[in-house]
């Protein structure tokens, strides 16, 4: 076939691409960006490119299972099938998949984490026919029962299985998996509330290849820990929120599991400081340790952590922290590169300063909500931890604006900076802009910043991908313009409640062609014109929040529906969109989630039509008054298609004054 094509083309047409062998084209395709639109464009060039791309494609994320038959015949070599966009994957689809002769051999990974309506029958044929299946994700299959788990257990070669929130699965199902899938390397049982000691214990006994085991929030007790600890290759153990495990249980860790590299016992409230020495004495090669919401950080704890000489990551979120504990932490874990102290009560300048001066190689530091720290800590951090790539310090309200100058001056490697709810001002931003590698910058609720500071960022941070300006009301179109000009790779921007943002800002933002998320809640000046500009230029837009943009109406929705074919999530609450706009939006085949509260122009009939048209909907937030206005059968039908309804009955809420919303909010809270 290929030879024929080659010979014919070289003699007659002289198409230069025909000189390329398939292998070379495949190599070229290998280097194509992961953006699916690129390969789509490639395949549309000509017939041979179309067929070559079809042969080359390994991964696919289809939107509807209805298209599976044609899709499967087009892409015979798929190894990764992501069905997370298909809300409805009935057994018939799985039968179809597994009965395709080529796919059944090539398929290695399937993701059903967002799909419903499949059952044990479909999984059985999948497991039996797709013999090379290595990875399966059935998370959130809340209706899956033991029979389904047992069906999966027939996939002999399964290595990675994620089944979090499979609440109906019990020990029996997990037992089948343990016996059937002996090659399992990764098993996630998080939130499988029906699984207890017996199931987990059996998994530990039978699946000796396990590397990663997540048993978070399971009703397990100490009984299954000894067998888990005997797993010869276990590297990653997640015991988050296992209330049944206490200090006695941790004694099992004393003897074993030298292979363990990562341990998460966060939110295990039955564990006290007494148990920590057993962890540290047993697993000296531990690299990542998560003790969040678990144990008070004291001198004694730090002492027992000393033995973990290769520890790299330590998470102590939400723990009670003492000064002596922090100081002692400074003396241990010399190799620590990542430290998280977010929401820790008791973090003070004295303790934190002592800690960071000892850990100069820290790369990531999270001091979110450490409300007692001041510029002293920031000075120490910026002086010693010059390697920092990530600093999260949301709501460190006592840090004065001068401190941010220090960060900008001394931490040039920062890539992620979270300054939400801080006192930073334009001068600080000017210094922050020296961190030219910055990719994620969160400036939400920074009431002191203006366009001036933002312009500095826009002028110096070309790598910026995510910018959060939520309620930073000093920002206007000028600032946004400079960002839009200077940060072409911007993907996510949040300008919610920046009241002065206008259509002009959106038009400038439309230059950022990679933009996929735009949140501009509560910007009353934005009209349909701005949205149209975004829709026309930002073809990758997947998430749009225009809640409370009262001036946006149907004229904005029509171009959106026409151009933004990748739109998945939209919030239209409090806008002036009517039936027409909604109906046109419904033609966006990707659309999965809609929030349509308080749309004055929306009628029951229009809503029904839109809902029926939009076949891929999985989640709709609706005013509960519609519930009685529309027939029950309609909702039943839609739910059968895979859509879930969230009924809200909130009264229309008057907008808070943007300048002093925080004070108002605090007053309301009190």
């Amino acid at each position: 076939m290929k030879k024929q094509k080659m010979s014919s083309s070289s003699t007659t047409s002289g198409n230069p691409f025909d000189l390329l062998s398939d292998e070379i084209v495949f190599l070229v395709l290998d280097h194509l960006s992961p953006n699916p639109l690129d390969s789509k464009s490639f395949s549309l060039v000509c017939k041979s490119f179309y067929s070559l791309e079809s042969l080359h494609r390994r991964s696919l994320r289809p939107l509807r299972t209805q298209h599976l038959p044609s899709v499967l015949s087009r892409y015979p070599n798929l190894s990764l099938l992501d069905l997370s966009l298909c809300p409805r994957v009935p057994d018939s689809s799985l039968h179809l998949l597994s009965s395709s002769p080529s796919l059944s051999l090539s398929l290695r990974s399937i993701d059903l984490s967002r799909s419903r309506f499949f059952s044990a029958s479909g999984l059985t044929s999948l497991a039996l026919r797709c013999i090379n299946l290595v990875e399966v994700d059935v998370s959130n299959a809340t209706e899956l029962r033991d029979a389904g788990a047992a069906a999966l257990a027939q996939a002999k070669n399964l290595e990675r299985l994620r089944m979090s929130r499979c609440k109906m699965v019990t020990d029996m199902g997990v037992g089948c998996l343990a016996v059937g899938c002996r090659k399992l390397r990764e098993l996630v049982l998080k939130w499988c509330l029906g699984v207890g000691d017996l199931g987990v214990g059996l998994v530990a006994v039978k699946c000796k290849e396990l590397r990663t085991l997540d048993v978070s929030y399971l009703p397990i007790s100490n009984k299954c820990l000894p067998s888990i600890m005997k797993l010869p290759y276990l590297e990653d153990l997640i015991l988050e929120g296992c209330y049944g495990i206490d200090d006695d249980g941790l004694a099992a860790l004393k003897d074993g599991c030298h292979s363990l590299k990562s341990l998460d016992i966060s939110s295990c409230q039955s564990i006290s400081q007494v148990g920590v020495p057993s962890i540290t004495s047993g697993s000296t090669s531990l690299r990542h340790l998560n003790l969040s919401y678990c144990i008070p950080v004291t001198f004694a704890l730090a002492g027992s952590l000393k033995r973990l000489s290769v520890l790299q990551t330590l998470k102590l979120d939400g723990c009670m922290v003492t000064i002596s504990g922090l100081k002692a932490l400074g003396d241990c874990c010399a190799s620590l590169t990542e430290l998280s102290l977010s929401k820790c009560a008791g973090v003070t300048d004295e303790g934190l300063s002592a800690l960071v001066t000892k850990h100069r190689q820290l790369k990531k530091l999270d001091i979110t909500c450490c409300r007692k720290i001041t510029d002293v800590s920031i000075a120490h951090i910026s002086r010693s931890c010059t390697e920092l790539t990530s600093l999260r310090m949301e709501s460190c309200t006592l840090v004065p604006k001068e401190a941010f100058v220090l960060i900008g001056q001394r931490c040039p490697h920062l890539e992620e900076l979270d300054l939400t709810d801080n006192e930073i001002d334009d001068e600080g931003l000017e210094y922050i802009s020296r961190c030219s590698r910055i990719r994620v910058l969160k400036l939400g609720i920074c009431l002191n910043i203006t366009d001036k500071g933002l312009s500095c960022i826009g002028g110096a941070c070309p790598k910026l991908i995510e910018l959060d300006l939520y309620r930073s009301a000093g920002v206007t179109g000028v600032g946004i313009l400079s960002i839009a000009r200077g940060c072409p790779s911007l993907e996510i921007i949040n300008v919610s409640y920046c009241n002065d943002i206008t259509d002009a800002s959106l038009m400038s933002l439309s230059k950022c062609s990679s933009l996929n998320t735009l949140e501009c809640r509560g910007c009353p000046l934005i009209t349909s014109l701005g949205i149209s500009a975004i829709a026309v230029s930002c073809r990758k837009l997947t998430k749009l929040d225009i809640k409370k943009c009262g001036n946006i109406d149907d004229t904005g929705m029509i171009p959106l529906a026409h151009y933004s074919q990748n739109l998945r999530q939209i919030n239209l609450s409090y806008t002036s969109v009517t039936d027409v706009g909604l109906l046109s939006l419904a033609s966006v085949s990707c659309l999965q989630s809609m929030t349509i509260l308080h749309l004055k122009g929306l009628t029951a009939c229009g809503l029904a039509a839109a809902l029926l048209t939009c076949g891929g909907l999985t989640k709709v937030k609706l005013q509960s008054s519609f519930r009685s206005m529309l027939p029950h059968l309609l909702f039943d039908h839609l739910e059968a298609r895979g859509c879930t309804f969230h009924w809200r009955n909130k009264v229309f809420q008057a907008e808070l004054d943007p300048k002093c919303w925080k004070i108002q909010l605090e007053e309301q809270m009190q």
Partner: protein, 528 residues
């Protein structure tokens, strides 16, 4: 009438003796022409007689009741008149027995014998009534003797009834066994109370009920458990020369193992006997000796005394009681005393249950699940209490009442996997249960397990249905109501050796589906 009476008396004496000998099958020890004075019978001697035959010739036992009782019953018809004939019968019987009775008995003849016997019993009763009614001092004999005679007659009468019962009982194999244990249960004091004649009769009854062959054996025979004094009813090794009363001593002397307990071994027949206590008068069997004592009250005032009603247990209280342990008669069993790692059984009940559970057929099948079988009926009853509640199933077919036991089992055995019951799976996919799809294990599982095995069949059925229903019922959340398929579990399922073949069945369905949805837009927009 008087003649008759005298005749009767003589005859009775002779007959009693003849009977006893006949049933003892010891013509050599007690020749048939032995004088018929009961005074000559010494207690030890008598007991020896019935103990002697204790040598177990088990193959014969079931037949003996028939032979032993039917033959005489026929002849007894004329025994009041014909004493000599009775002796002949005794001889005949002995001969027959000694010839090593391989009998193929005919139930019809036995039945006729039976009716004949009944007739004779009536005659006898009339006779006895007559005797009782005409009792008078003119006889010139001491009153005691008269009463003894009366008792003799009564005993004779009852002995016939015993024969009747045992003959009838011989129809049922189990009853034969039960009778075997009747003999030894005469309390010594009872023997003492009664005169020699009575003794004779009672012993004859015993002998009748204890159909043992007469070869002097050395094997241990133990009676059924008698809480009163178990050992007194045990016939111990090398017993031939000893009286029953001395059994214990013999045992003590000979069976003391290195351990501080004595080992007793019941024989198979004793173990399997349904009753362990038998009325010496009417032969009725009881499971508990207390019930027997209650029953005995109906046989006369002498059984109503506190002494008779009391547990005869404390008789041997003065002697130091050794711990008794029991051995299973099954050679090679770990519970057999010859086993290298012998582990004795604690009580006779243990022996019975052990023997039935381990060495007998499991005759009792649970009517609910029709799979579980038991040899001890109590086990069946226990099971029936839980049957159906054993919801923890293994693919091998074993059920467990507790989940942890199931998981322990699965942990232990390679290839076993939890089986998910269909109702729990809501029929959505029964197959599931089979974690192992490799064919060997599949077959293995299919062999003995109900629904774990038929996964594929059911699966197929569901598949088909799913396919058929799919286009029309596309928007229903569950495309089919799978409960319909519960019935398929009942079908015997072929083991699918060829999964390909099994699934080729699917292809038409999937083709249909393809056709139906083929028309839909396949725009690449939908791929991302």
């Amino acid at each position: 009438m008087k003649d008759l009476k005298i005749d009767t008396e003589d005859n009775l004496h002779a007959e009693a003796w003849a009977k006893s000998t006949a049933r003892n099958k010891l013509p050599k020890h007690v020749p048939p022409d032995h004088p018929s004075q009961y005074g000559n019978f010494s207690l030890p001697r008598n007991q020896q007689n019935w103990v002697d035959p204790s040598v177990p010739d088990h193959t014969l036992r079931p037949q003996e009741p028939y032979e032993g009782f039917n033959q005489p019953s026929e002849n007894q018809s004329n025994h009041p008149h014909n004493p000599s004939s009775v002796q002949d019968i005794g001889l005949q019987m002995n001969d027959i027995i000694e010839i090593n009775k391989i009998l193929d008995w005919d139930p019809r003849t036995m039945l006729s014998n039976l009716s004949f016997l009944k007739q004779k019993i009536h005659q006898l009763q009339d006779l006895v009534d007559l005797i009782v009614g005409r009792r008078s001092p003119t006889m010139g004999r001491p009153d005691e003797l008269v009463t003894q005679q009366q008792q003799l007659i009564t005993a004779d009468l009852t002995s016939i009834i015993v024969q009747l019962i045992s003959t009838a009982g011989s129809l049922l194999p189990s009853v034969k066994n039960s009778l075997s244990a009747a003999g030894p249960s005469i309390p010594a004091e009872q023997l003492g109370q009664l005169g020699g004649v009575i003794l004779n009769t009672s012993s004859s009854v015993n002998a009748a009920a204890l159909p043992l062959s007469s070869d002097g054996g050395t094997k241990v025979i133990a009676d059924q458990p008698n809480p009163v004094d178990p050992t007194s009813h045990l016939v111990i090794e090398h017993l031939d020369e000893h009286e029953s009363k001395d059994e214990e001593d013999v045992e003590d002397g000979e069976n003391l193992p290195p351990g501080s307990y004595e080992i007793l071994q019941l024989e198979k027949e004793e173990i399997l006997a349904p009753h362990t206590h038998f009325c010496t008068i009417c032969g009725k069997g009881f499971k508990r000796d207390a019930n027997l004592r209650m029953h005995m009250r109906g046989h006369g005032d002498e059984y109503k005394t506190p002494a008779a009603l009391a547990k005869p247990h404390k008789d041997t209280g003065s002697e130091p009681v050794l711990i008794k342990r029991y051995s299973c008669p099954y050679v090679g069993c770990k519970r057999n005393k010859d086993h290298k790692k012998f582990q004795p059984l604690k009580t006779i009940l243990c022996v019975k249950n052990h023997y039935k559970r381990t060495h007998c057929d499991k005759r009792y099948t649970c009517s609910r699940c029709n799979t579980k079988k038991f040899s001890v009926i109590a086990d069946l009853k226990t099971h029936e209490k839980h049957c159906g509640k054993d919801k923890w199933l293994c693919s091998c077919g074993t059920t467990f009442s507790r989940k942890d036991k199931l998981f322990g089992h699965i942990t232990l055995f390679q290839g076993h996997t939890p089986a998910i019951p269909l109702d729990e799976a809501k029929g959505q996919a029964g197959p599931s249960t089979q974690g192992e799809t490799n064919e060997e294990s599949h077959k293995l599982g299919n062999m003995n397990f109900g629904f774990a095995s038929d996964g594929e069949v059911q699966d197929l059925m569901e598949d088909v249905k799913g396919m058929v229903d799919e286009p029309s019922g596309y928007y229903s959340p569950l495309t089919f109501d799978s409960s319909n398929f519960g019935g398929f579990n009942e079908f015997p399922r072929p083991s699918f050796d060829d999964p390909e073949g099994a699934f080729s069945f699917l292809i038409p369905g999937s083709c249909n589906y393809t056709r139906k949805s083929g028309g839909e837009s396949t725009s690449t927009n939908n791929l991302s």
